[in-house]
Symmetry: C2
Subunit: 395 residues, 2 copies
């Protein structure tokens, strides 16, 4: 049993969320991901408020498990020399600098390829390395908004809202990991390196999928629908006496099951609600009835009555989701040991495979935790040389 | 120049959205993806209302470009024989059946491995192949709700809403593509096949990221914040005289730029708004002022004034997003030629790399469009044999 990406070494210059989420996917799959961090300060995510564990930002902890940390001052000549030597024994250089920075630092694909023709570089940026807006700063909310999906997230007639998960950032990381893996496979076949250019905005656009084509082919501009569905009913969230629930009872079969499960069989033969078209036409009348009925029992009681009959489930709050029996059965909450000796919990990996087996989980690294080990093992530095570099502030 | 996954052959049994989105990522990267579809009917996504192009569902078109289609009745012995022969010359078998179906059809990993030890299988399902809920049906809304992110998507004090993009489905496809690529790389190194088990619910959980850990480490249960931010201000959407815009002016620097750009410099020295803490404490007062100010100009005017100074941008509706200059400059809207001869538009791929270059885009296949070609080229069937199979309804 070995991890799928075992033997792959990634030099990871990325910080905060989008980049580190992408390199975490690679790390969870077994790549050796070495964070290259500025001496003293490191990944700016390390300081992110508001929650800390043993002095480390929980935000940082969430996306940096399974990685190593090496401090290196890329603005010093000695730091650059070490970086180039590391590139020679690595497969991937991964960054989320603004466009132009890697060229300025002379760690762009063209420069690194001269040292190691097989190198793969992957840059994640807000708008990509090309195009009229490439130099603009981009944060998650701006990307969600410009990408178009925010415009149809929310309630009809009200202001749009953001997707609760930071999809503007995360999606870029996801595609970066795709790019790296495709390039690694390709390199095995051809020996060729690759330069990957991932934009958060492109990534967001790719999520438009059929909504984008509905506009291109039919001129339909998607509008917010709350928890509902523009052309199917009832698919929606409802309040109960306890937690909120969702149902998807659009088909005749599921609608009949819903009525049976609610002990309101007469609704299924009500002329207003017999066909899908009827239910869509008389949406508000159906909503009014269902809203009232669902308020008569608890969420637990409704799910007990409905879950066997049709697609239905709780709107889990975070605490509920993280203790959901299915979530726990699938190891989506895992444990590792922090270097303080204390146990720490992390989210699991959704990529389950065998014979490779469940990923290992090592705790997120302290700043520079692996500097000495990496310099000794990979580049044959002596303890004295390492002490000198540390004194000069290079590491 | 060759595509990164060129030479990889995928037998794709998946339908609708989650599976086809994942196999589309592989196809865009150059894998030969062969949809295996039921004769006569095919992928049920082919019939999805409400929009059609030359009789084909636009929903279907959106996730099936770059694929081939072969019809095959897996319930007939001859169909199964052909499938097994195809497995011998393929790398990946990809499905999104409910758990148990591949075993029943005898196309599960264990069965296929006997034929082709190097085979990689990937199953995408609502809840995964294991756990107490594995047999339940799951649709996008149910997954968004159970996964927890919906609970904090929406406005404070109102019912949660769904993320506008079908993230419950899409995220499963995304991780399936990761799993397949990692397994392909691993197989190059070790010769070993792999069984991949992707659950939409696991995938959703992985997007909880720091919000999940905020609960595990600090007991914080994420709440809906509209377009705003729980611990930073002003980061939000605002109405203008035309379209809505978003700004991210939380830091002192960006807040001062915002005030300057609005020609309201006095706000930056207003004792209620000087520090980040002040602005968070006096959020409502600041909102009231900004809401009024933003209503005094158009969206175009505000972005002209603000975009150079701080992260800001439009809330693009779908039509705006698909004509955004950066989106067009990055080839996120591409064109190919439908077999009718008519030009057709598709969304581009966010995974840009060189020297591999931009992906090719071939139109989504007609049902069984490549049956003859594949049977002849890969399995040496004669025209007569193919006619016989067609007559018997096997293909």
């Amino acid at each position: 049993m070995s991890s799928p990406l075992s033997g792959v070494r990634v030099l990871d210059l990325s910080q905060m969320l989008a980049g580190p989420f992408g390199s975490m996917i690679l790390a969870d799959l077994g790549a050796e991901v070495i964070k290259i961090e500025r001496p003293g300060e490191g990944d700016i995510g390390r300081g992110m408020p508001p929650h800390y564990f043993h002095g480390e930002s929980v935000y940082f902890l969430s996306v940096n498990r399974n990685k190593k940390s090496l401090t290196l001052d890329l603005k010093s000549q000695e730091g650059m020399d070490i970086f180039y030597r590391l590139v020679k024994v690595s497969d991937v250089v991964f960054d989320n600098f603004r466009p132009g920075v890697v060229e300025k630092l002379r760690i762009d694909y063209e420069s690194l390829q001269k040292i190691t023709p097989r190198i793969i570089t992957c840059s994640v940026s807000g708008y990509g390395q090309t195009g009229p807006f490439k130099d603009r700063p981009a944060f998650d909310l701006i990307i969600q908004a410009r990408g178009g999906i925010m415009s149809y997230t929310g309630e009809p007639g009200r202001m749009p809202v953001r997707m609760g998960a930071p999809m503007g950032d995360l999606t870029g990381g996801v595609y970066a990991a795709h790019g790296v893996m495709a390039a690694l496979y390709h390199r095995e076949k051809t020996g060729q390196g690759q330069r990957i250019d991932i934009s958060l905005l492109d990534s967001q656009l790719s999520l438009q999928i059929y909504r984008g084509l509905y506009y291109l082919y039919a001129g339909e501009v998607a509008q917010p629908v709350g928890s509902g569905h523009v052309s199917a009913n009832p698919i929606r969230a409802f309040k109960t006496q306890t937690f909120d629930i969702v149902i998807d009872a659009n088909t005749d079969k599921f609608f009949q099951e819903l009525c049976a499960g609610m002990d309101r069989k007469e609704l299924a033969s009500d002329p207003r609600f017999i066909t899908r078209a009827d239910r869509l036409k008389n949406k508000e009348a159906l909503y009014a009835i269902l809203e009232e009925v669902f308020l008569q029992k608890t969420g637990e009681e409704w799910l007990e009555l409905l879950e066997g009959r049709l697609p239905a489930g709780p709107i889990n709050t975070v605490d509920m989701a993280l203790s959901d029996p299915q979530v726990l059965a699938r190891n989506m909450v895992v444990e590792t040991t922090h270097r303080s000796g204390e146990k720490m919990k992390l989210l699991g990996s959704p990529i389950k495979m065998s014979p490779a087996g469940e990923p290992r989980f090592t705790p997120p690294p302290a700043l520079g935790e692996h500097t000495d080990q990496i310099l000794k093992d990979l580049l044959d530095f002596s303890s004295q040389e390492i002490r000198d570099l540390r004194e000069k502030g290079v590491i």
